[in-house]
Amino acid sequence: MERVLELRGVSKHYPSHHAVNGVSLNLARGEFFSLLGPSGCGKTTTLRMIAGFEQPTAGQILLNGADITYRKPYERNVSTVFQNYALFPHLSVQQNVEFGLRRRPGNHYAQRAMEALDLVQLAGKQTRRPSEISGGERQRVALARSLVLAPDVLLLDEPLSALDPNLRKQVRAELKAIQRRVGITFLFVTHDQEEALSLSDRLGVMSAGELQQVGTPEEIYLRPRTRFVAGFLGGVNWIDGVGVRPEATRIAKEPPGERPARPATVVQSTFLGNCIHVEARLPNEQPVLAEVSRLGEGFRAGDPVYVWWEPADELVFQ
C-alpha cells in the first residue's frame, strides 16, 4: 500500500483542553477513509491541521513522505470541501471551479473546469451564481472545485450534514461513485456512523481527542476495541458485562432447546417498517433490545419470552 498521508502523534493542545491528542494515522492512496466521532471529539480539528488552517502543538504531518506540518494551506496539495461549501458568492459556478486552477501553472482552465462540472453532473449550470442553485448543487460545485485540482488528499468536513435527509443518501452514493472514478484519496469527517460505515474503505473512530480504533467497517462494527466504539457505531445490550448487538440478540416465546437462555418480559414492541424493535426486561430489571424481522413471530407488551445469543456474536474488549 502506497502511503499518501501520514500523521505521527499529532496533537493540538489548548491551555484549557486537548482538542487532539497524539493521533497517528496512515492513509493509502486512493482509499476512502472516514474519521468518525461525536461533536467535539477533535475530528474537525484534525482535518483542519491537515488542511493547514491550524498548526499542531506536537507531532508531524507528512504528505507523500514530505513534512508539511507547518506549511501554509496554499503550499500543500490537499483540498477541502467545507461543511457550508464556502463557495465564492461573487463568482459564477465555473469561476468558482476555475479559482484554484488559475492559482496554478497550466492552461485550458475553462475546459478543465467544464470537465469537472461534467463529473458532478452540473454541466449547463456554469454561468449561475452559487445563490441561484440548490443546496445539493452547491455541494457538488464545492466538490468539483476541489477535485479539479487533483489533490493528493481531498478533505471533506461533514459535507452531507447541510443536506436534507432524502438528498443525503442519494449524494452519498454519488460521492462514493465519484471517488471510485477519480481514484483520489478521500478523508471524510462525519458524526454519522451510517455514513462512515457505508462509504468507507476504512474508518477511524475518535473520542475526546484520541483515535480509538482504525479498521474496516466490518472490523469496527463487529470487533470494537472499546465500549465507546461499540456504543458509537450502534446499539449494544450490556448483559452481565457482555455486549451484544440488538440484531444479534435472539428472542422467542419458547426456550431455544439446549442453548442457555434467559427469561425476560416484553416491555414494548416498536414497528419500524423494515424491522421490529422488541424491548424486554430481564428479571434483574436489565433492559434488552432485540431487533427482529417482521416476518417472524410477533410480540406484545407483557409477553414472557426467552433471550439468548450466539457466543460468536459477543463483543469482546481488550
Partner: protein, 276 residues
Amino acid sequence: MNRLRAWFLAPTWTVMAALFLAPLAIILSYSFLTRGAYGGLSSPWTPDSYQRLVDPIYLGILGRSFWIAGVSTVICLLLGFPLALFISRSGARKNLYLSLVILPFWTSFLIRTYAWMFLLRDTGLVNTFLQKIGVIHSPLSLLYNDGAVILGLVYGYLPFMVLPLYATLERLDQNLLEAAADLGAKPWVALTRVILPLCEPGIRAGTILVFIPCLGAYLTPDLLGGGKSVMIGNLIQNQFTTARDWPFGSAVSLTLMAIVMLLLMSLARRDAEDLL
C-alpha cells in the same frame, strides 16, 4: 391600521415639512430672484443666478471641490481599509478599537479643527519640534493650503469610511478566506480576488459617506485653507454673508444638492443592477 400609521408618522412629516421642505422651497424661490441694491431680494424672477454658475471662476471652484473631496475619499479608503481589516480580525479587542475610532466624536469638530491649526501653524507644535531637532531652519508652511484641507477632511471623515468597511468585513465568512487559501491563493490574491470584491458594498457606502460631506465641506477649508483654498461650501457661505448675494448663494446650494443627488442615484442604480 392605516390611521394608526398616519398618526405615528405625523410628527415626522411635520418636522420634515417644516424644517426640510419649506426651507428648500424658500431657497428654490430665492435662487430665481434678483439681488437687491443693498443685499436682500427683489424682483424680477430670473434664471440669471444659474447662468452665472458657468463662469470659469465658479466652475473652477466646483472642480476644485470635486478634486479635494475625491483625493480625501481615496486617502480615507487607503487608510481605512487596512484599519477596518485589522479591527475585524482583532477578536476580543474589537470593541476597544471601534470605540477608539469614534472617540474623536466626543469633541466638537470645530475644536478639533482648531487643534490642527495649533499643530500646523508656523509657530505650531510640528514646526517648533522640527526646528528644535534641527531638521529645518525656517518653518514649513503646513497651514492654509490644499494639503492642510485634505488632511483635515481625512482626519474628520475617516471614521465614516472605517465603520461601513468594518461592518462588511465583520460579516465576511471566514471559511471563504480559508477556501481561497486552500485552493492555492496567497494572501495578496485572497485580498484582491475575494475580500475586496465582497467588500464592495462597504466600500461604496464608505465612499458616499465620506465624499458627500467632503464635497460640501465648509469649516475645514475655511479654517485650514484660510480662504486661499476655497471650496464650494465657502462660496455659498460667502454669498450669504460678505457678498450679500442670496439668489446666487441659493442657486449654488441647489446645484450642489442636485449634483449629489445625481451621484447617489447613479450609485443606487448600480446597486439595483447588481441584484439582477
